[in-house]
């Protein structure tokens, strides 16, 4: 159980239940960031602070007081370029990764801008609307860019973690993979994902069960959920790139023209990187 990281709100009573745990704190209040860092690191280890910024990145008042604190910012969009530029120098001092929504078309290119500035970033997928062509362009930039630039998730994760014989679950990037992250409600109930938490779907209501969660059959079943794909000979089970996607876009209807070609290209990139690993330099941020 010790290798599982916990994801929860900033709730001191809750956090006091843990000791020596790696913890991801979700907050909407950026004024709390330094305080969170201070409190969590007393008995536990702050893995990351996830800030949901419901607006443009350029409007987020970043400060160099956050230096050394691992932070993930989820913003809807990039915002005003000139406004962002005024703060750009601060970003370079921070251990920050910026996520923009895949829902907004301009975000794909704005992530290129951020990455080319050396600011680690990524896309998140709040719903089904994905521009696969732009996603592919962004992936190409991330994987094959001509000069060194900052990482773009989730491509970078897939590319760096690719191994021939193991599946890769890039939900790690969003602290959503139940193999490694569990989500805890303010009342100490345990859920397997952020969505489950939101829907009050818990695997146990008792925080003390956490220690033996590996034995829980429900937990085990969830870890084996991937096998459900293999009851049918269609779509994801016969997808050449299953191993790096694990059926995350299963809801899409026209897979052979959308997710599959994209993930096939991503896998080629990952394999290429894998084969030439020693030649690349990498910079490590808060590792998912």
């Amino acid at each position: 159980m010790n290798d599982i990281r916990l994801v929860c709100n900033f709730n001191i009573d809750l956090i006091n239940n843990f000791q020596g745990k790696a913890i991801v704190i979700k907050t909407n209040n950026i004024d709390e960031i330094q305080h969170i860092n201070h409190v969590v690191n007393k008995e536990n280890k702050l893995h990351c602070i996830v800030v949901n910024h419901n607006g443009a990145l350029s409007t987020l008042p970043v400060t160099d007081n956050w230096e050394g604190i691992p932070i993930h910012i989820f913003a809807t969009r990039f915002g005003n370029f000139m406004q962002f530029i005024e703060q750009k120098h601060i970003y370079h001092k921070l251990s920050i990764r910026v996520f923009l929504s895949a829902e907004i078309e301009t975000n794909y290119r704005d992530l290129q801008i951020l990455s080319s500035f050396g600011i680690d970033c990524g896309l998140y997928f709040p719903n089904k609307s994905i521009n696969w062509e732009k996603l592919n362009d962004l992936m190409y930039y991330s994987a094959y860019g001509k000069v060194q630039h900052a990482s773009i998730e989730p491509f970078d994760f897939v590319i760096k973690k690719f191994e021939y014989n193991t599946p890769i679950d890039f939900s790690n990037v969003y602290f959503e993979n139940p193999h490694q992250y569990l989500h805890i409600s303010d009342e100490g109930k345990v859920a397997l994902s952020g969505l489950d938490l939101h829907n009050c779907k818990f695997i146990t209501e008792n925080i003390n069960d956490l220690e033996n969660i590996h034995q829980s059959s429900e937990y085990k079943n969830v870890l084996n959920n991937w096998q459900n794909f293999f009851t049918k000979l269609e779509d994801c089970s016969c997808c050449p790139s299953w191993r790096i996607c694990l059926g995350k876009f299963n809801h899409i209807s026209d897979k052979t023209n959308t997710c599959q070609p994209f993930f096939n290209d991503l896998m080629d990139a990952a394999e290429l990187f894998h084969e030439n690993k020693s030649k690349f330099k990498t910079r490590e941020l808060c590792q998912p």
Partner: protein, 366 residues
Amino acid sequence: MPTIIFKPTESCNSNCAYCDVVARKAPKTMSLELLETTFIKINEYLLENNKEKLTLIWHGGEPLLLGIDYFKTALRFINEHCKETKHLLEHAIQSNLTLMKQEFIDIFREMGITHIGTSFEPIANIRGPGKEINSKVYNKKFFEGINILKDNDFGWGFIYVVTKKALSRPLDIFYFLSNLKLSGGFMMNPVLIYGKDENDISITPKEYVDFIGEIFPVWLKNKKRYPDVDPFKTIMKNIEEEGESLGCVDSGNCAYGHLYIGPSGETSQCGRSEDWGIINYGNINDRSLKEIFEDPRREELLIRTNYLLENDCAGCRFWKICHGGCPLDAYSPEKEGLMRKTAWCDVRKLFMEKYFEPITGIKFNK
């Protein structure tokens, strides 16, 4: 290292479309008495041939139907009767996994087994129990079995049987099987129907070749992604290692390497020969293993290989990876004609000439 295909039971909990073991005969199970005799005979053989090792492949039917106690007893017999030789006896098992339980794993571990051979079928209603061949139930149980193996760090490999229903989707099937087990370890075999093709699944050898031929370039291009996929890997390996690792069918030297022991103690050259009802070597109750391994009929198999080299297969470019093929495939339906090359000769050549050589650019010379 001789291999014993050991079939202590013909019973099976599945009713796979391509298997007639269940339908063909009232399934028998080996009595404990005969089981004990078998290990006594094995011990005798190994005492005399203590430079050799034997591999005992537990086969069926479904061997797990024998139950935990049966295996416990087997283990007791081994410990009692093979005290000095059990280190020369290796066990392997072929199971459909649907009955897997932790208790089996514990015994298997004691027997030195850490890897299980199985089969899987992505197309519905080909593998499964009951008249309707319920693959849903089968798959659910199968995955439960897989999870037990995983929890115990057991390895597994599987056989996929190519049937008529698969012919239109070679790549889908290939990706499916590869995804099912990313580390590879599967083999695509053609379905072999001995009796009537009641489920309309049989394929021609050429259909099989075209099926794997479509997969081959994808495999070759991404060999690292799809390790250990047969028959491709074995062919490539043999080119690299000059015929060192051929399976029985291609090696031309199964003569002294294989033995089948069935539930009534009947013996034969191998599982296939027993299915066909040919090359029988008598009953284990009546003969020692040494006698069975030295049966003069085995010599004929060896002679066949040498004969083919001078006759049917003389000058064949693919000799070193084929050796005239399996003797059983040389027999006519009337079970005559051992001294012939395999009936699959043309399709073997077809695969090599239509797919392997042009795609790899490797040209076989005489």
